[in-house]
Each structure stands twice: as C-alpha cells, then as structure tokens.
Symmetry: C2
Subunit: 307 residues, 2 copies
C-alpha cells in the first residue's frame, strides 16, 4: 500500500457552490503532511471529512486569488486557539506575509507559535522542502497573477539485495549501502558479482504535481515529467476554449494534453467552474485525450500508486 495520499478538500473554482468548495488539498507522505492551497472553509472541510491534520507543518499557497488562500487566516487562528507551539511554514507569494500580519494585528493577536513565511519568488529550481526521502519544488504557471505549481517527488529508492546473499557472503555494512546504490561486489576471493545479479530493482518512486490555476502551457510539462499523479485545473469544457484562454484557465482537454505530454500516469481534474453541476462533460472530453483521467471528489483521499 502506498504511503503517499492526497485528500481533496475543495475542487471548485472562484465562486463556491452548494456542491463545490474553493481549492485546498492535503498531501500526506508517511509522517509528513502538506497543505496545498487553503480556500475559504478548508478547515471546515477537514473537520467535515474527519481528516486529521495534526502533523501539518508546511503550507503551500499557489497564488493570491482568494479562492486559494482566504481560509488560511482561519486555520492559523485555530492552531493558535488550540495552543499550537511548533512552527508553521507558509510557502507563498511574498505579498501574503504582510496581509496575514495585518490580519493578526487588527485582532491584536500574538501567536503562541512561530509563523515562517517563505517567498515563492525566491526559489527557482531549488526545492522548497527537502528530506532524505523526497523533495517539493515549485514552478511557474501561466495565470493572471503570479502563480506557481508544486511537484512532490520521492527520491530514487535503493535497490534490494538478495537476503541470502548478504548472509552467505557476510557483506560488511558499508558495502551493503553501496550495493543498494548500484555498485558491484567483489568478495574476499576476488570474485566480482554484478549488481544486477545480486539485487532487484526497487519500486518506482512516487510523485505528485499540482497545477492550478493556469492557462494551457506546454512549458509546464518539463517540470512534471513522469509524475504518478497530476492534479490539473479544468475550469472549462471544449466549448469555452476561448474564454479559458482569455481568463488564463484551462479546458479539461487541455489538462489531459498536459498529462499526456508530461507522461503522467494518472490525471485528476479539479477547479470546476460553478456552471457545471455535473462535471462529467469535462471527464468525457479529457478521456478522449488521456484515458486515465478522473474527476476529483471532495472529501475523498486518493492513494498515489504506480498503477
């Protein structure tokens, strides 16, 4: 079972409806939780769908249109009221820092935890967040205000050595790491064992990319090559391609084209315009271009897997 999971909290566009909330999703990988965008009501969506978020330490805000960040100050306040002490880091366009500070100042609130702001303008290809096992990078999207996509990539996993071989050959531990990384092994008699003979390949590393909001932009694909799951905005259907282009949003077919061109394994559509009470038309159009497409469903948690 995969340890990489995505909970979709809101899949609507700028205007909320009775069935679609503004953007927000929680990405979980082993002990780590990352919130990507935080539209109004994101904290209520977490409560409603019983999604725990106690481990949350990093929040990523794609851009400063309200449907992607109006819920952030409420979440910050709730953490404060519940006595949070550990720091919270917010990766966002620089302007958000002053705005959040302005909001806290108006209510005369001094948070009992540290709020760290990291400005997306300052990264290029540098990771925003990195651990031994994975990293998260941002990349520019094409929207009416500065806007970034995010890609999570698990680092390449080590090869697995045949356990019997380790025991028979009494391989020293420093050699084990090297073999796992791909080295051949030479035993005390000078016999060489090729790495391919004594190890098996690990599973493919998992990855996830978030692209919202953006016009169709072929240059995105180089940042999200081969991802396991791509979430791409699909605000409009084919009939509204001109509107999409004017408003710097995408059609479902365009999202599918990005999935295809980036060699994504699976595509999840979201950011549906309020006009689609049933976004099935978006699914149908996208599947003609990229069959492994699905509509995101609010409150659902998706396992991100190599299949």
């Amino acid at each position: 079972v995969s340890n990489l999971k995505l909970s979709v909290l809101g899949n609507g566009a700028a205007v909320p409806t009775a069935y679609c909330n503004p953007s927000g999703q929680l990405l979980t990988f082993e002990g780590n939780q990352f919130l990507i965008d935080c539209g109004e009501g994101t904290q209520m969506q977490l409560l409603k769908h019983k999604i725990r978020y106690r481990k949350l330490e990093n929040i990523f805000i794609s851009h400063l249109h309200g449907d992607h960040y109006y819920g952030l100050i409420g979440l910050i306040s709730t953490f404060h009221l519940y006595g949070r002490e550990k720091p919270l880091t917010i990766y966002a366009p620089a302007d958000l820092e002053e705005l959040i500070k302005h909001q806290l100042q108006v209510s005369k609130t001094t948070l009992n935890y540290e709020l760290r702001f990291m400005h997306l303008e300052n990264y290029n290809d540098d990771p925003l967040f990195e651990s031994d096992d994975f990293y998260i990078k941002s990349f520019p999207l094409k929207h009416s205000v500065p806007c970034w996509g995010f890609v999570f990539r698990e680092k390449p996993l080590l090869r697995k050595i045949n356990r019997e071989f380790i025991e028979n050959k009494k391989i020293p531990s420093e050699q084990i790491v090297k073999i796992k990384q791909g080295s051949d092994f030479v035993d005390s008699d000078g016999v060489t064992y090729l790495n391919s003979q004594i190890t098996i390949a690990p599973r493919k590393s998992l990855s996830y990319a978030y692209c919202s909001d953006t016009a169709y932009d072929e240059s995105i694909t180089k940042h999200i090559k081969d991802v396991t799951l791509l979430y791409h905005e699909a605000t409009f259907d084919n009939s509204m391609e001109t509107v999409a282009s004017e408003k710097l949003h995408s059609t479902a077919s365009q999202a599918a084209q990005i999935a295809k061109n980036s060699n994504s394994l699976k595509l999840l559509l979201g950011h549906f315009s309020a006009r689609f009470k049933d976004p099935k038309v978006l699914l149908d159009e996208a599947r003609k271009v990229f069959p492994n497409t699905f509509l995101s469903i609010e409150g659902r948690t998706y396992l991100i897997e190599n299949k």
Copy 2:
C-alpha cells in the same frame, strides 16, 4: 405571519467544529436583508441552507475577532464575480476598511460595485440605518476588543381606523393619517369622536437584538429593552463563570439574566464553545433564569413574533 425573520448561519465560538460554524446571521424584514457578522464559511452556509441573499445591501460586523469577519472578503469577492453593481455598505470597526482594501489590492481586484465603509466608532445613539418603518442602532458590548451589539426596531405602527367609520364620515385623507397617529376626529357638525372610539391599537412593533461577543454587562439592558427576540452569546456553562469573566464572554445563565432584566420576550442562545457537543446543559441553565429560552440551530430561520 411576521415579516421579520432571522436565519442563523453559525452558532459556534472561535474554533469551528464539525457541527458549529463561526458567527453569521441574516435578518430579513420585508424587502430588506441585513447580514450580522460573517465568519469563515458564511457564504457556504447560505448556499447549503438554500437561503437567498440577493437583496443584501448592508452588513454589520460586531468586532474584529476572526470568527466574526473572516468570511467577509469571500462574500465581497463572490458578489464581484457574479457582476454585482449595486453598492454594499459595511458597518464595522474602522480597522476593517484598510484590511479589506489590502486584500483586494493583493489580488489586484477592482470591484465592479461600490463598497461603502461606515465606522461603528462614529455612531453613538444615532441609528446606523433608518427607513420609514424601522431603524438599526449599535451599542457597546464588553469584550477584549472594541465590540458592538445591534438592535433592530420596527417603528410604532399606526392605529387602524374602523373602515365603516371612514366611509360613513367621508374623512379627508389628510385627517386619516392624523387619526391613525392618535388624533381625535371632529366632524362637520362639530361632534368630537375620541381616537379610542374610532381606532384599534396596532400590533406591537417587532424588534431584535444581537449581543455577541460580551461579558455579562447589566448596562446592555437599557439598549435592548423589551425586544421581541434577543440573541445573546452563551459561550460557557455555570461551572465556567470565572473563565467567562476572564475571557469576556458570558455563561448561558448570564445571557438569561440579561434577557430577563431587559424584559425580552424570547431568548436565543448561541456562540457555543466547541467543548459542548450537546449544548443542552446551556439551555437547562438558562431556562432556570428565563424560561422562554431556546438554543439557536444552524440553518434554521426563526420568525420573530409577539408570542
């Protein structure tokens, strides 16, 4: 049937729960709609409970704690995206004006309608809003930041003249108004008809008061005398009276005491602390002091009537 109605959208305190949203309510009187407070998710609550708010032109924000206003910018944005043209007036503490402008500036939004800010600091006993039929006033509450309560009062209704008497006596129209206002009538023969003989009293004027957030404060009562319905915060139960006092909130019993001392007809409790999964304890305690007490229920619309 009364034309004065209150829809409760959120009855929770600072921290939202799976069952309580932050403060927000819609007061409707004939063709007028007034939103009182606008915590995060207020616009979603309106959608969820299918409460139309197209006639909304005036919003009242009691104070600048987030659970009373974080949803305002989202509502302002939604009106903009739906092409609103008529002005929207916001009665709020002065600091809110700069904050909302800051938020609009960050997203480079120029609203296609006029946003008018009226600062609560500038009114004393002057009405915030007045029509021929009613007025709305603010009054100070006792909280940790400047905070105002609001009272809606229908103006005294005119007396009703016996229809047969009007027809028989062929009363000129300018006299009719005077009689309705309480004057006696002298006919062409010089005969005087006492007002009490020819008219009947109108129903009692309706009124509504909103008191949240506030510590117990006897001085509130003079502003809300004889209201038909009082909504008063009841954050805590009797066992937490000291906490209530420290945090400048009220217990349910204190809310009931205010209802009793102000001679309110009916009391609706709200602003329940997240610790009360079932606020029935608050109801029981309040009813010992003021029997005509009810727990507010989210999504419910209450007719405000003289009974």
